[in-house]
Symmetry: C2
Subunit: 222 residues, 2 copies
DNA sequence: CCGTATTTAGCATTGTCGTGCCAAATTATC
DNA sequence: GATAATTTGGCACGACAATGCTAAATACGG
């Protein structure tokens, strides 16, 4: 049943951490394709080309497997996005138009504009949703959420610091608003892809950034 | 939510449609509390105070039960929200400030500001997510989505028609943007309620509407 | 080359799901 | 009141999940 495509030539010695990551990959693939309820031990093992017993050798139980999958997702998303962010946040040079363009590119990392980002969006959302009714996942899902929240906030702070945004803009609120926009937009695009082609996503993001730059902030009055 | 306080005195004759709605109530309650994976026949029957056999008498199988629950959710959400909308969309009178206030109230119907709206948000989101990997739910989830999309769009169109929004605003794009914002904001508030108190939700919504009113639209340039 | 630890594979158990089927209880019709 | 229809309750079966336990296959240290 289990399908070890390895030939007999490959040594049986295995780096356990790498193995765990391979299994996490399988979890991600199954969840992205068939949903969380399909991520059973047997399906994950099949996806990874292993036997159930092998998977169980590296994870004590199903719960630990799920937790690891969430953390691994967070690690990868964080790594990819922060690497992208540092190029923007550290370099203070470039014209304003250039900075604007790069900011837009950074925030576009949150949108499902290609298969990689689509799967990441899907997985983030799936695990975040699952965490609501699975206490063991909550803190890890929150950590993932916080990481991205912080990135958005720093991006806006940086833009404001370099004069790309009005000085009286309430960055706290705008961060929440931008993050909500990105999340909602990405989510709808993932759930109903027919209705939200990548062009539309980019257009909406661009429009939002435009409105941030152009809008004079009004203190909370009517 | 669903509470049939009937005692044994009530005759055994039952309106089947009402019974189906009561069972749907139970589905909603279980899903909102414990997630979709908990909406098994036995748990739903328990929640409704019925035997499994009774539930099965009104629904041929589990799938039909889920579909009915989605449609019933759509019916209720649509009913409540459109009732609210008509008061705004039909009446052309009132000052601009008054219209603005009522528009904000209407859109606040999309946010989880009280238990009822919180559960509705949760259920909409849960079923929409599930529909991705359950073809039988897809069209019903899309219908629910479309209904709310349309409401948002009409609201913005109405606001533009009465001069509450700039005439050159691209209502198509703004509808998508506003809807994404409402969805993303509501979702985060539902998943991580500690971080998103109702006041913050209102503030973000108000800020977004402010920016719509105040922003001159720039044609898609840099 | 041998013994030990690691890795892989699988069996058996237990629990829970949906569902086919049937019987009891209750109501409606005559 | 007797009979048919509706409604309710539940048993039994098969599928499949997670998991405890065991044994084979493989790699490594001596």
């Amino acid at each position: 049943m289990a399908w070890s495509c390895y030939k007999d030539l490959v040594p049986k010695i295995v780096d356990p951490e790498q193995r765990r990551r391979v299994v996490a990959d399988a979890v991600h693939a199954v969840v992205a394709r068939d949903g969380l309820q399909a991520a059973t031990l047997s399906q994950v093992a099949d996806e990874a080309g292993l036997a159930v017993g092998s998977v169980r050798h590296y994870f004590t139980d199903h719960e630990e497997l799920m937790i690891f999958a969430v953390r691994e997702l967070g690690r990868r998303v964080g790594e990819r996005v922060w690497a992208h962010a540092e190029r923007l946040l550290s370099d203070s040079d470039g014209s304003r138009a250039d900075r604007r363009r790069r900011t837009e590119e950074l925030l576009a990392e949150f949108l499902p504009l290609d298969d990689l980002r689509r799967d990441e969006m899907l997985l983030r959302h799936t695990f975040a949703t699952a965490a609501r009714t699975r206490p063991s996942l909550l803190i890890h899902a929150e950590a993932l959420q916080s990481t991205l929240d912080e990135l958005v906030q720093r991006t806006l702070q940086g833009a404001q610091a370099t004069g790309g945004l009005p000085a009286d803009l309430d960055v706290e609120v705008e961060s929440v608003r931008l993050r909500a926009l990105l999340d909602g937009l990405g989510l709808q695009a993932v759930l109903f892809p027919r209705r939200f082609p990548p062009d539309l996503l980019r257009q909406v993001l661009r429009r939002h950034l435009d409105s941030l730059v152009a809008t004079p902030h009004r203190a909370a009055g009517l």
